[in-house]
Symmetry: C2
Subunit: 401 residues, 2 copies
């Protein structure tokens, strides 16, 4: 966008409704800084105008999904102290849409009075899977059994713990940094860096529970959704809301999510991924302190979207109803196998003929195999029809070159 | 937003899905021009990223609701030929969010090959209430009886037609340009300009039917909504979806709306406001060829929002399902009486505690009495609770100074 003059940047701020600390002054334009400019930031930006909130985004890519949408876009590294610190000095509040950010800069900004939500303390716990797992254990939050390991040699000492998942402490995102070690013979491919071994769980299903907590301690939990993973690519293939788990299991999962939020004392949204074992145990796999891929369907299918809920939470406003308006599914639009380069979408017309299908493209110019290019939310009151539509959707839209 | 370099403006365009004429080339960034930068444009912009469409907005005000949201914002007059023409030359397709625009420029742009939706021909019919009424009569679309008048002296000749509404042909928007002439004594306050006298209708209720037609002639009609007007200010006070009219009346209204769209051969969205008389007649009051105040609730309450539907229609894509997910109401947030100046919102917290209430602020910095500053959509499965929540909402949020 374009500012005819600097005075335009001034905006009257609705003070009475947003009584959080750290506001620089009354009646000023409110600038929400978002560290990270991907699709989660993009959908968060789409929710901001309704609250009269301007968005300022930092991302290393000049063609990030948030690039055209943000009120202001800053190009720069998310992991560089100075870049993140300087970016934070231009906004009234800071949030994230990815965990892999420079936490030291966030701590310093928080110390200087900037509201940073989720808090740097929370991001730090989540960033390192070792710290995160230990946090669950320390707080009696059920999670698959694990041992911390420093390197490959250390894993050899724990060969009796296999079969297990070997996870890197830091740096693993979107299915990276995780591998299965089935037997001691697999150890020579184990990560030779600080990480953990997590007991292999023979789970019945995987669910995700999104919940938000605002700065006053109010917590609202979305009904659990069920994640169906792609058999090959370790990415969510599609997602069903609500989950087909029993009411008892769902209540247990929601109570666990609430416990994680309250023990973390997080301000903002948290996605808690969980395994349901065949014996009906509910175990926390991992959490993400931000809007999450498993909550896209809330835009169309719940009374409050995860993006609006995150805003309400960080602005210190009452949380919205998490109830479901209509059963839904979410299908990722992944880059087609064997296609890399400028993207083109096939099957858009066929897709849009499916009643209740809503398209969300992320504005990415380049596709590559299995890159998340967009998603489709599908609504149908009838569960069987819903699943049939999922299969139909998967056959229509394709991100090719 | 900020473009680090001009190359960023290039965007791969999903050609296979958007097979409309007038596209400048394959694989280019697609720029949708919106003439008008008010709240309707703002909500249209919020729908565009999901279709990877960039928005370019023209508005005379540098602080228009679209100002911060558009990919590009042009400040200029909507009624000046050169301004609109030059603006149109920068985009790949043109649409409007207000009817009061320079149609001659739109005709010229259309002649030069630019897709302009709704078509200038349609905008011209709607712009002049005299032409619009005559269109209904010529096409056997039921509408209150009327006579065209040239000036006040002419109205005197038709004194026997009173009581009637006196409407200006051109220039009346948002409740302006309309007044009641109850008896011949009122004629000295009649508009002394080309207009019409419309027979006073003792109506039971007023409803609005939104419908879209795409360039292939496909039509999709939203269920009728019921408009409850403020007793004093001639603006919608709140709106209920679906309407409480009988199924028979609703079917009649939807058939009439379909007929208006098909006779107009419009490409895009059309809002058709109708009176239901006490004897069960359905009469068209007037139409608007764009997203409409009476369709805001579709964002939360219908399978497809009016904004997405407008996009689908003008892009030549299949239309979405218009079905209702949940009964809803829409309350305008109007500037409080006696308040003019920089706006401040009171009661935001109380508002957001109401389950199912969704806030939409329009980003207007200045309030004045009865100015539309935002709206609240309220969802509730139970009609009585819904209406109770409307009254609750009306008591909470206030746009003051």
């Amino acid at each position: 966008m374009h500012y005819p003059n600097p005075g335009d940047m001034m905006r009257r701020f609705p003070v009475k409704g947003f009584p959080f600390k750290g506001m620089k002054a009354f009646y000023q334009d409110f600038r929400l800084g978002i560290v990270g400019g991907g699709q989660l930031g993009r959908m968060l930006i789409q929710a901001c105008p309704n609250y009269d909130v301007s968005t300022v985004v930092l991302d290393p890519s000049g063609v990030a999904p948030c690039h055209e949408l943000a009120s202001e876009f800053h190009q720069g590294s998310l992991t560089d102290y100075d870049t993140v610190y300087r970016f934070g000095k231009t906004v009234d509040m800071l949030t994230i849409e990815i965990e892999n950010v420079n936490v030291a800069a966030l701590y310093q900004l928080e110390k200087e009075g900037l509201p940073v939500y989720p808090q740097p303390r929370v991001i730090e716990i989540i960033q390192d899977k070792r710290v995160q797992k230990q946090f669950y254990r320390d707080n009696n939050i059920p999670t698959p059994d694990f041992v911390l390991v420093e390197n490959r040699a250390d894993i050899l000492q724990h060969a009796a713990f296999l079969p297990a998942f070997n996870k890197l402490g830091k740096g693993g995102y979107d299915g990276g940094g995780v591998q299965a070690l089935k037997s001691p013979e697999d150890i020579d491919k184990a990560f030779d860096a600080p990480g953990l071994l997590e007991k292999y769980i023979d789970f019945d299903r995987e669910i995700s529970v999104l919940a938000a907590r605002n700065s006053k301690g109010e917590v609202a939990v979305f009904p659990a959704v069920e994640c169906i993973f792609h058999p090959k690519h370790n990415l969510v293939d599609y997602l069903l809301s609500p989950s087909s788990a029993s009411e008892e299991i769902q209540a247990k999962a929601e109570a666990i999510a609430r416990r994680v939020l309250e023990k973390l004392e997080i301000t903002g949204l948290l996605a808690v991924e969980m395994f349901i074992t065949r014996s009906g145990e509910v175990l926390v796999n991992e959490s993400a302190p931000r809007p999450h891929n498993s909550g896209h369907q809330t835009i169309n299918a719940n009374y409050t979207s995860q993006y609006e809920q995150h805003l309400r939470a960080i602005l210190g406003l009452p949380l919205g109803s998490t109830a479901i308006k209509c059963p839904s599914a979410m299908v990722n639009v992944l880059g087609a196998e064997g296609c890399s380069g400028e993207v083109r979408y096939e099957g858009l017309e066929e897709l849009l003929k499916i009643a209740g299908a809503n398209l969300f493209l992320y504005g990415k110019k380049q596709t590559r195999p299995f890159r998340k290019m967009g998603h489709v939310t599908i609504l149908d009151e009838d569960r069987e029809k819903l699943i049939a539509k999922v299969e139909q959707v998967k056959k229509t839209i394709r991100a090719v070159v």
